[in-house]
Symmetry: C2
């Protein structure tokens, strides 16, 4: 990440923090406002990364050892001379290139972005797909979004830490207990009971009951059934058989 002419120390700190969050190690700053850089260095979050940040006097020096240089822009300027890619597509190319050489990702100053001179060092440009009429992102947020896209895993599973579902046997015990309660309470009557039991079975299965909750639900239903049977407000443990 190369920050060019950044003014606000909070933004340098925020960029460093996002780099730390997403595992990017090398921060370079070109002509930062001296005070901003010093203040950022002393701030919390991504501190060691900031301590190792390298300072350069010009973009050419900052990117000299990189094989790909990508500039970021809101994309609303009409005089852009280079190919402009959306982040999703640009990140794919960057990941490929990063396998064989250093890639520099340039972010301009808060107010003006990258200058035409800065942009002339870039192979191509990239923009975050913001909505029309609101293209200008906060610098720290723009860095975070770009680094997230570069490190995201499109194949991440939908249920990485899935809850273990209840077994069919557990679901069926619950269904039986619920049905008993519905019978006892008069919700279903015996003449049409078989049809309704099928409905209840499907209803319970649509809950996707987690295995660990099975006992809890069963306990609640048992209590309700006991109460329906006895009309007593005491607990089942005090029931005398």
């Amino acid at each position: 990440v190369v920050l060019v002419a950044t003014r606000n120390p909070l933004n340098i700190g925020a960029a460093a923090r996002a780099m730390s969050n997403f595992g990017f190690l090398h921060l370079r700053v070109v002509n930062p406002y001296e005070v901003a850089f010093r203040q950022a260095r002393s701030a919390l979050g991504g501190a060691s990364l900031l301590a190792r940040a390298e300072e350069y006097g010009c973009v050419a020096d900052a990117v000299a050892d990189c094989t790909l240089v990508v500039g970021t822009t809101g994309g609303q300027r009409r005089d852009l001379q280079q190919a402009l890619r959306r982040l999703e597509a640009g990140a794919r190319l960057i990941r490929k290139q990063a396998a064989t050489g250093g890639v520099a990702l340039l972010f301009g100053s808060e107010r003006y972005g990258l200058s035409n001179d800065d942009l002339s060092h870039c192979h191509w440009l990239m923009r975050i797909p913001t909505v029309e009429g609101s293209p200008s992102m906060n610098l720290g947020q723009a860095v975070a979004v770009c680094l997230y896209e570069l490190s995201r895993n499109p194949k991440a599973s939908g249920r990485a830490q899935k809850q273990k579902p209840a077994t069919s046997g557990q679901v069926e015990r619950l269904t039986a207990s619920l049905f008993q309660a519905l019978l006892a309470s008069g919700y279903v009557n015996l003449s049409s009971a078989s049809l309704t039991e099928e409905k209840i079975r499907r209803l319970v299965r649509r809950l996707n009951l987690p295995a660990e909750d099975h006992e809890l639900w069963l306990g609640m239903l048992r209590q309700i059934n006991w109460k329906l049977r006895t009309g007593d407000s005491d607990s089942p443990s005090r029931e005398k058989r």
Copy 2:
């Protein structure tokens, strides 16, 4: 976006700005620090969005009209009671659900995140895939990354604004001119010229010459060829035939 117990006005402002960037309209705040909320309202960026932000006394009220409530967390807590999804996978589910009902995305306070009580209102939880050892993101950056993921388009073209490439005829004219210069300069000699011309042709084609640059390159080579031919430092326009 529901911000719960946010302390820093800059973060409320940053959340509003990211919402504005990615086209999200409804901000709700639950128990913000009064001063923070007032200061954020008066700050620039996403201003109208902040002016319309709704304030609630508890999470239950803030999400009452939503059909899906998703909590965000760094995921480092070991006592999480709900399914925890990575952002990439969670966003897919949220996009689906958002087609049929309101979805609330909860962000906790800067220091403590969402409380267990806040989390109990969530259907499931989501974490941004940060690297091990650095899971805690800046609040404004976390909001930006989540909203970016929700609005990104995986099918975005690799060259949305592709430069028009030069035609084969243009490339061939350039190749011929370059070859002429290499002959005139003695870089290639006539005995092995045919083999070398093929090499040069392949070399030029690997450049991906843009159509609009063709004339410029050709002009430069013509000047060089003229100079090689005449040894004169005057421009070709002054050449007398």
